[in-house]
Amino acid sequence: MDEKKEFTPSIIYGLCSWCGTGGSETAGAMHLQYADNIRPFRVPCTGAIDPVYILRALIEGADGFAVSGCHPGDCHFDSGNYRARRRIAVLKSLLDTFGLDSERVLLRWVGHGEGKRFADTVNEFNDYIKEMKKNPLAERRDT
């Protein structure tokens, strides 16, 4: 049990600059606490996240990768989030095909004002990855 507590997963969080990051700002404004071991990074749109970025993070040591952007219909670029969803669907089914823990990739829309939803998502995913333990790919040297 102690061992499990010590494991701090490293989680990358891709946020779009219109909604996802807005959600994190609102969470800050509302003084909501969320796990501090996530590493957010900002992209112009979730549609700009190529599955290769997610794969690279997972192969090089990340234990989880979350993506949040505008709700369907809200995308600043009209259809970027639909593209992201399709790409992540392909990626997840690929990871499933080869037994590489597709649950390590999370997709959930977070609007600009949804600070609580953002904080909850971070905490939930953090707990989930803690349960899953370390990403086996991160320790493979022959990748």
Binding site: Y82, S93, L94
Partner: protein
Amino acid sequence: MIKGIWVEGPVKKGVLDFLNGLLAEKKIKAVLMPAKNKGGDSYAWFLMGKDRLLESADPVPPVMTTQGANVVSYLTKKGPVWEKTAVLLRPCEYRAVIELAKIKQVDLTNLVLISFDCPGAYPLEKYVNGDPEELDESFEVCLGGVVELDGPRNVCAICHRFTGTGADIEIGLMGGEGKGFWLVPGSKQGEELLDGAVGSESDNIDVREKAISDRTIARETKRNNTLDSFQETVMGPENLLNTLSACINCHNCSRVCPICFCRECYFDSKALSSEADNMLQRAQRKSGLRLPPDLLLFHLGRMSHMSVSCVSCGACEDACPANVPVSMLFALAGRNTQAVFDYEPGRRLDEAIPHTVFKFEELKDFETPYIKEYSKV
């Protein structure tokens, strides 16, 4: 639309006569098809025309050297062909041409696509290093669709889309038992070209349809079973990396792949080259680093980019110098990713590639539902 024309006689000669006829009548101006090398040990694509086809032209070659879709893409890279040109393609090549036409890498204007019931192909290495004459002979026997090809490539053995459905003209070999073949029109253009072709109006085409449906059912089962048992051998990081361990990062598989059309590939780009310091850090973290790096990233990344359009032609495996079962990996990945969108590459021209379709509501299974509340406001 006429159902088909039955042409009696040896298959290859019959097809060549038909094409020569079209050339002589000036219905088409040129033909793009494979022809045997002078040395007799391999095939290459030739654009032929004028009065007659090349002597060594072979409409149904026993190996796939260059993927036909790549050749067509070369031909129409700078715009459409000006005059009617017939192209002879394997079914998988035909499907790749359709995929490329969707992403504007092939211009179908003035092209007449002709495909045939494919018995499969030998691994390129086996043919080039083996005894071509002997292999040619045993290939010829399989043309009628009665006998299965002996020792084909892995993906050919489990190919369930072995007819050129949708092509302008289909050369129906299945059920012909080698005594002849059907010329089946698949479009208005095909029908016009078949008008006046030598042969008899066919009433026995049901034989072909029956033979096709029988083999399709058998192959679909075989495909699923083979891929399922293959999947077991590559599940999990350990198995997958062991399967890929022979890879020498030459990227040949992506270079010969018709679907991998990008002129500048991400995996060949500067984005993946990093300083020694970076690699040392990675080596520290992983207690060792395989060089050149990014082996798994390349294969999985490539799958995420193009597996929905993968036509399972097996060009990748033919090009692999290290005998990595790339074509099987991609067939497996393609089967599962295509199933997400109920998409089949090359089925129809008006069916858009999934990555280019945007829908408001779909794929709910891939989002994580928000049900658990943590923080209190």
